[in-house]
Symmetry: C2
Subunit: 317 residues, 2 copies
């Protein structure tokens, strides 16, 4: 399959590249890394995004190859979807699949629906960035610092900086090669992992202030009421990861976040470290998730609901 | 030099290994990784530490090879100092250097004083862990999961999880090999990077609550008064890294932490991101440091000193 895709790339003149909606580090880094690589093969390449590039990735090389997507139907020899599990993840740009003589799907999601003409899906690989690197090398592209930087971002982002369990010996081997082209590891890592907005940091502060440890320090309870916050510019995405603050405390097995929203709903997030299956509790309240990460939404008075949910959690432990 | 050290290791029967005082991830991981490797060569190996193993490293394999240090003078064929820049960094255990038929110094500090009989110092390498891995392989040791885990911890810790500028292509190549022996990357990373004590997290909360941005968000000011804190179990080391909370905020160039201590001293920590040389300000107040990280201690009323120091900082920008 890879060979066929490479043959198509070699034949093609005009190529469109489309990563998934809400493009993350891997989707963006793989797309622009591939685009810059194909440029070196003298292809006419355009990258289409659904949204603006997130602030933390604005320094990524190759962003000048982005073209605004409109419904006018340009024709492409090849339309390549990157890190896209199914067509719905292309949003409005799914239309573009009809404008390619051939379509290609390069991805690593287990659930990939094989929606393109050529599908290269490897769910055993950390990131699409790893797949793109290998392909560019096999295509004979001379990797330069810009391409290497894009692919470093892709792989580093999708492995949580080489800390998630999807990181393999092969990942480090590819990164070893990528780094040799002159990637500024410290600068990139600072930009994609350490940078935080002021409002997010203030939210972290409020969350930490609220943390209580119960059950001999095995459960960390975080309570945030949107009303009382008074942090300007706060976005919904700023709440991502807040529940982990509790999980990371020494000795804690379960962290639970109660977030009281302005509409009266209470959003509950659960994380566990080693042995408690938090999806059971979430299911009791019509929520869902996995053993180590789950959530649900309840209605009612915060104090009362908190008491009830915590009682149910404790009886699960 | 490496060859000579390896010859001595092969000849030796009884070997002592001594990492530096306040042993960190590299010192510990390299020492116990080496010890476990030498065990496989049927050496009689003992590791001596100055302090207890820090909580986050209690899961490290090989800790059973630690022997409590007393002044009784055992005799060793070889005494190997690990990650030790000079003899003062051995604390009380420097005595052991007199009890070795030969002494060896394996380190990566530029400032190493070459205090042993054999000195293998490579300041271009990320960590001693990288050096130990290569040496064990060359000694013909069959690397197993335990040895690999120790060396993974060593290298990962000293490179900030492959994020500092000392991380090279060679580092990733070695890690790629080490990981192939079955290292549990996700579990180790969680334990050494994410785990935080409750009191440290509470300190972070207080620090975040105090952060003010001034000069159009270019300066982050953090103020902590030890008196008002009321966090039980807080250690001096918990203050490490607090100043970085300000530096990581989007748009901030300089972060400054004022910590009012119970004895009336005000400890000032400074960090910059790209262009301000904070050592200049620290020098004005009899402190010191580098361009991007500096500090000083002043006396006086907190409010007044803060105003004065900030004025001086602003005039430096």
């Amino acid at each position: 399959m890879k060979k066929k895709i490479m043959d198509e790339i070699i034949k093609a003149k005009k190529i469109a590249i489309i990563p998934h909606i809400s493009a993350d580090g891997d989707a963006l880094g793989s797309s622009f890394g591939l685009a810059l690589g194909l440029k070196k093969l003298n292809k006419d390449v355009e990258v289409f995004l659904e949204e603006e590039v997130p602030t933390i990735y604005k320094f990524m090389p190759g962003l000048e190859l982005e073209k605004e997507y409109t419904f006018q139907s340009s024709y492409y020899d090849l339309v390549i979807a990157i890190d896209v599990g199914d067509v719905s993840r292309l949003g409005e740009r799914s239309e573009l699949l009809n404008n390619g003589r051939k379509t290609v799907n390069i991805d690593h999601h287990k659930t990939n629906t094989l929606f393109a003409f050529y599908n290269l899906v490897d769910s055993g690989i950390s990131s699409v960035g790893e797949m793109i690197y290998t392909m560019l090398v096999e295509l004979g592209v001379e990797i330069n610092k810009d391409i290497a930087t894009c692919l470093y971002i892709a792989i580093s982002a999708d492995t949580g900086g080489f800390r998630y369990s999807n990181t393999t010996s092969a990942t480090h081997k590819v990164i070893s090669e990528i780094v040799s082209f002159g990637v500024d590891i410290a600068d990139i890592s600072k930009k994609i992992f350490d940078n935080v907005s002021f409002q997010k940091l203030k939210l972290v502060g409020k969350a930490v202030d609220s943390i209580e440890l119960i059950e001999n320090g095995k459960i960390a309870v975080i309570v945030i009421s949107d009303k009382g916050l008074n942090i300007s510019g706060l976005k919904d995405e700023d709440y991502d990861g807040i529940v982990n603050l509790g999980r990371n405390i020494e000795g804690v097995e379960v962290s639970i976040l109660f977030r009281e929203k302005p509409n009266g709903e209470i959003k509950i997030n659960l994380r566990s470290n080693y042995y408690v299956d938090v999806s059971k509790l979430a299911n009791m309240y019509m929520g869902g998730g996995h053993k180590r990460a789950a959530g649900c939404v309840v209605k009612g008075e915060l104090k009362k609901m908190k008491k009830q949910v915590l009682e149910d959690l404790i009886s699960e432990m």
